[in-house]
């Protein structure tokens, strides 16, 4: 077979104009978002990085102190304690709600009646206002009113039980969301795979392990990644239920940051905590991207 290679045609300005025009219009549509993000994300991020290197009180001018805030963080027991609480929090949310979400979604794929009802029932806590959910649980856990009185346990007053108690309350509102997302992913799994597996003698667990889980891996990985990031940003339930107490037992990085910025008037130090939080999220995302590339995952 022979082939002749035709000489390349000189690029025509006329042919390129529509492409450039399309690109410009696309940029024009993106411009508002870029402008807003530059204003509310990039600007504050850069300034937070700068202020983390100062002794800024949050008011007036800031004095450059180099890495002093970061050096102080390294030996601050409150900060180290908060990091540890965030790690425990992350571990809890990577295991408990993920497992409940997977199990709940898989169970829903197995039933035909009342599926919608269960979906709604699981999802309702997620759309309830945090402050309402927290107030309800505060009363439920109260040693004078609710479950706490019956069991004789003051979970929110105990330095060893408070963090798990707050995590359980947060999980109550959270896991239903995971059920709905996992269920949506599971419904995209080819049903023929389950039929084939059943013919091969696979039981419900075998089908879940060998078909469902690998098939929803992108969703699973994405939610795992976001769980880690969100866990390091958690604030609302902790602040409403315990404000970081008792005796700092539920202090997480965000409550510590809030206290340093607005109560102690140490905005520079709080900025350093914020930068560390962002760095942790960045490391998690980067690690995921590297693993994804090595494994050749699509997402």
């Amino acid at each position: 077979m022979s082939a002749t290679i035709a000489p390349a045609r000189a690029p025509s300005r006329r042919r390129h104009r529509p492409a450039r025009r399309r690109a410009l219009i696309a940029w024009a549509f993106m411009l508002p978002l870029i402008a807003i993000n530059a204003l509310v994300v990039l600007g504050p991020s850069v300034s937070a990085l700068y202020f983390s290197l100062t002794d800024w009180s949050g008011l007036g001018s800031a004095r450059w102190i180099g890495l002093d805030n970061y050096l102080e963080l390294a030996s601050d027991p409150e900060f180290l304690g908060a990091v540890w609480h965030n790690i425990l929090w992350t571990a809890f949310f990577l295991v408990v709600p993920m497992a409940m979400g997977l199990f709940g979604a898989f169970a829903l794929t197995r039933i035909r009646r009342f599926r919608l009802l269960f979906r709604v029932a699981y999802f309702v806590p997620y759309i309830m206002a945090t402050v309402v959910t927290a107030a309800v649980w505060k009363n439920l856990l109260s040693p004078q009113l609710g479950i706490g009185k019956v069991l004789g346990i003051n979970a929110l007053g105990s330095t060893s039980l408070a963090l798990p108690a707050v995590a359980i309350v947060n999980n109550w509102a959270w896991w239903g969301f995971l059920v709905v997302v996992f269920l949506a992913a599971m419904q995209d799994v080819n049903p023929n795979l389950y039929e084939a597996a059943a013919l091969d003698g696979a039981g419900a667990f075998g089908q879940f392990w060998h078909i469902t889980l690998p098939s929803i891996r992108p969703t699973f990985m994405f939610l795992g990644l976001m769980t880690i990031i969100w866990s390091f940003l958690s604030f609302d339930y902790v602040y409403i239920l315990t404000q970081g107490g008792p005796a700092g037992a539920t202090d997480v990085l965000s409550t510590l940051l809030y206290r340093d910025a607005f109560t102690s008037l140490r905005a520079g130090y709080a900025s350093a905590i914020g930068v560390v939080m962002a760095a942790i999220s960045g490391i998690v995302v980067l690690t995921y991207l590297v693993v994804r590339k090595r494994k050749g995952w699509a997402i």
Binding site: F29, P32, A35, G245, L265, R266
Partner: protein, 449 residues
């Protein structure tokens, strides 16, 4: 219709930025009136304030009062001041915040107005002294408070007790009450995490004594001195004995409504709290609560021999300053003078709305005949205070103050020793002292240094 590309891009950019710029511009003045932001505990206080302090102002420039939430007025003011706007009359939560605003150049010096209106004669010397920042008057105390001990007289009568006047009597009652299944001191910090510092204030001033605290505030005595360590140890022991709130765990989940209710029902014996409680307590006693319980108060007592028998731990609940960017500073100063003067109006605020007064000298005659005797008795006594103590939230610099309660919670939960607590406090305090962030502390006899 076709839009040229450049025009389209320009319009898109403008459309994107317009809402942001509009938002940034918010908070500016809408009239030539004096702009004033304030927060209230309840509608009664708000109505009284509007009627007697805002509408009644006879000055040439009217006042626009904007009510802000108690929980966020400080942050809102801080943000507005940083943006070069904000109210003409700037409210703060106390001298430590004044110092921060002063350092940022947000406040106008008040010395010329102090001379013009004679504030040094009208206001208590201790309060004016505590409002100085580096020797400059940049704020006036708008309200002040003290620590007191509330009790239900019927509960004391039923058990044959009287309000304690020394540590021995107090500990005897607490021991007996605990044995009877009562809560000796109704206390908790579920609603207000910093509440722990109220009792640290008590321990420091009534065990270590106001002289020692004053010396420490001036940097002449370290917070690691054994007298402070012993004070913290003693308070921690009270907690661990279950005297504060019933138990260490319950302390962290006790809310104020629950505690007031226990005081009214006789399940709790005392409540050691601030004078702000005199307005909160009404809802839990008598007709409003559907019971026949009554309440009274007594001053705090010495916890160690050698400490004066009567020490009033004074704190500034709020201050008022003039915004450095105010276009009408003279009119604002005139209104400021109106607000912090006139003892009779201050007394009416106490009597009719439970408002905390400015530190003016009050006599029994200043109060209306209908005034609650318990309230008037407190403020008349305060006006004649011979020895003052120092509340941590007024006289400690910001970072030290935060540490006072966050770390004290670790002491009575057994995570930190009293000595380590004091060492940590001293370290942070020294740093802030060096940076000039410690508010001026008047001498314990109430006179400025």
């Amino acid at each position: 219709m076709t839009i040229p590309r450049r025009r389209f891009l320009a319009l898109s950019s403008a459309a994107a930025l317009l809402p942001t710029l509009t938002a940034c511009a918010g908070g500016g003045r809408t009239s030539g009136n004096i702009q004033y932001w304030w927060a209230f505990n309840n509608q009664l206080q708000r109505d009284f304030f509007q009627r007697m302090v805002v509408d009644a102002y006879p000055g040439p420039v009217r006042v626009d009062l904007t009510v802000k939430p108690n929980s966020s007025i400080d942050q809102l003011t801080q943000t507005a001041l940083a943006a070069g706007t904000g109210p003409d009359l700037v409210a703060t939560a106390g001298p430590a915040q004044v110092a921060a605003y002063a350092a940022a150049g947000y406040l106008l010096p008040l010395e010329p107005y102090a001379q013009k209106y004679g504030w040094d004669k009208n206001l208590a010397p201790w309060a004016l002294a505590a409002s100085l920042v580096d020797g400059r008057l940049l704020a006036l105390p708008a309200s002040y408070e003290t620590m007191i001990m509330l009790y239900n007289p019927a509960t004391l009568r039923a058990h044959g007790w009287t309000p304690p006047q020394d540590r021995g009597a107090f500990e005897a009652i607490c021991t007996e009450a605990k044995g009877k299944g009562l809560i000796p001191v109704a206390a908790g910090n579920a609603d207000w995490r910093p509440a722990s510092e109220w009792w640290v204030t008590m321990a420091l001033n009534h065990y270590a004594g106001p002289d020692a605290v004053h010396q420490a505030l001036q940097g002449r005595l370290p917070w690691t001195d054994p007298v402070f360590v012993d004070a913290i140890t003693l308070l921690s022991q009270y907690y661990r004995a279950g005297w504060w709130g019933g138990s260490v765990e319950d302390y962290f989940t006790n809310s104020f409504p629950q505690l007031y209710a226990k005081l009214a029902s006789g399940d709790a014996v005392f409540m050691i709290t601030g004078s702000w409680a005199l307005s909160e307590i009404l809802a839990y006693f008598g007709t409003p609560a559907g019971n026949d319980a009554t309440w009274d108060w007594a001053p705090l007592f010495p916890l160690r021999a050698g400490v004066p028998a009567l020490v009033w731990d004074l704190g500034i609940g709020s201050t008022l300053s003039i915004n450095a960017h105010s276009p009408i500073p003279d009119a604002t100063a005139d209104y400021l003078n109106f607000q912090v003067s006139d003892p009779r109006r201050q007394a009416r605020g106490i009597a009719e709305a439970g408002l905390q007064p400015a530190p003016v000298h009050l006599t029994k005659a200043d109060f209306p005949p209908s005034a609650d005797e318990r309230r008037s008795r407190l403020y008349v006594a305060l006006s004649n205070a011979a020895t003052i103590g120092y509340t941590t939230w007024t006289f400690f610099p910001q970072q030290t103050d935060t540490r006072t309660y966050t770390y004290f919670d670790k002491v009575f939960t057994g995570q930190l020793s009293a000595a380590d607590y004091c060492a940590g406090l001293d370290k942070v305090f020294r740093k802030e002292l060096q940076l000039g962030k410690v508010p001026t502390a008047p001498a314990p006899n109430g006179l400025a240094q």
